[in-house]
Chain length 232, copies 2
């Protein structure tokens, strides 16, 4: 099994109201999409196209704090300016997803309202354009406890299993696997980030040759239910 | 920028005392290693070759618990049989890294004693074989709070920056990036896992075309120092 990961080049700045799928379709054309392709799109251009952009009013820092508080359904940790909060979607991340990087001056970017719906819409229209089912992942950059650095993870998914279930699978020695659930959508998002780069203005990537299970997985499948969670 | 990720096939079961780098060299030959390649090796075959394998004595479950306690320097959470513990290396993971999947019957596998040293040794000998500096990542499969499913991460690194530092970098609008540290070694490990598969017996992958910074990063760079950690 061999994967290829292509940076999607030529996508310029995206603005509220832009037809993102049309922009992505144009960027995908030179790659001639085929079966086994998975499209990963950073949430920022999705949020921008969907108008999830807020104009800063008054003092920027005060405004940012208010916005974080309003996007958060609960605060998990707070240290200085940094708030780790749970969003309405159930994601636990810095500043409840409110971000200034790659925002137009004077604005801040929120998470898409429903990243699974966003992924579904892009997938449906790409299918119409190319006649191929291309699963879509909407990604964001999250920190995590205990480990330095951030990684890209999946917040919206359409067309593939987000978590593969290996329960009942055996290893080569015939023993049941202890590790049974792999967050493949997060691994795909992380892999895509390797060709994007935060500063390079490449907001999407195409992964070719992915042989994991298709299906109707969602980004929300990756949220651990609070009752299973040992760390809340 | 385009990445390719190749599964390294033809690696059979590895046993204590085996010359792992020779095995990897043979498996790499058909891919004709070149500049920009990064080798990702799951820790299990490293642990096996290094003899970090323990024969089970007496009751398996009792023995496993004792082994976990002895591998752990501290217990972070405990629920039923599951212990989330800190290892001597500083990693926080399930069962302090003690694992039975893909172990020979009657044995359990521990983490390598020093995964950075293991990565360094493989890198040095590959350089001698191929005349090319191939960075090496030793990977393991870890869970994480709040999100379902596990992902592969880097526990040992040689030849590249484990965490890229984007401090002082600007986005396309000239604004300083808020996200400054990307755990690229973890993203590379996650990407490699996509072609390996837990049950398929493919314990290594070659990533071709990685353009991130080379350097003398270590797996330990990915351990967040306890004083910076909001979740201990």
């Amino acid at each position: 099994m061999t994967l290829q990961i292509f940076a999607l080049t030529g996508i310029g700045p995206v603005h509220p109201g832009d037809d993102l799928t049309e922009i992505l379709t144009t960027a995908l054309q030179p790659l001639a999409p085929e079966g086994g392709d998975v499209l990963v799109v950073t949430h920022k251009i999705v949020s921008k196209a969907e108008g999830r952009v807020v104009a800063i009013e008054g003092d920027e820092e005060m405004f940012r704090r208010g916005l974080v508080e309003s996007e958060a359904v609960s605060v998990v940790r707070r240290r200085g300016d940094l708030i780790i909060a749970e969003t309405e979607h159930g994601f636990i991340c810095a500043n409840a997803g409110v971000d200034r990087s790659n925002a137009e001056p004077g604005t801040m970017i929120l998470l898409p309202e429903n990243p699974d719906r966003s992924a579904h819409q892009i997938r449906t229209r790409l299918d119409r354009s190319f006649g191929i089912d291309i699963p879509v992942i909407i990604s964001d950059t999250f920190g995590r406890p205990w480990r330095r650095g951030l990684t890209d993870i999946a917040i919206g998914v359409a067309g593939l299993e987000a978590v593969t279930d290996l329960r009942g699978t055996s290893d080569w020695a015939g023993r049941q696997l202890e590790v049974t659930e792999i967050a493949v959508a997060d691994e795909l998002a992380a892999a895509a980030d390797l060709v994007m780069g935060k500063a390079d203005g490449i907001p999407a990537a195409l992964i070719r040759g992915y042989q994991g299970p298709r299906g109707e997985g969602r980004g929300r499948d990756l949220v651990r239910p609070p009752e299973e969670d040992m760390f809340r």
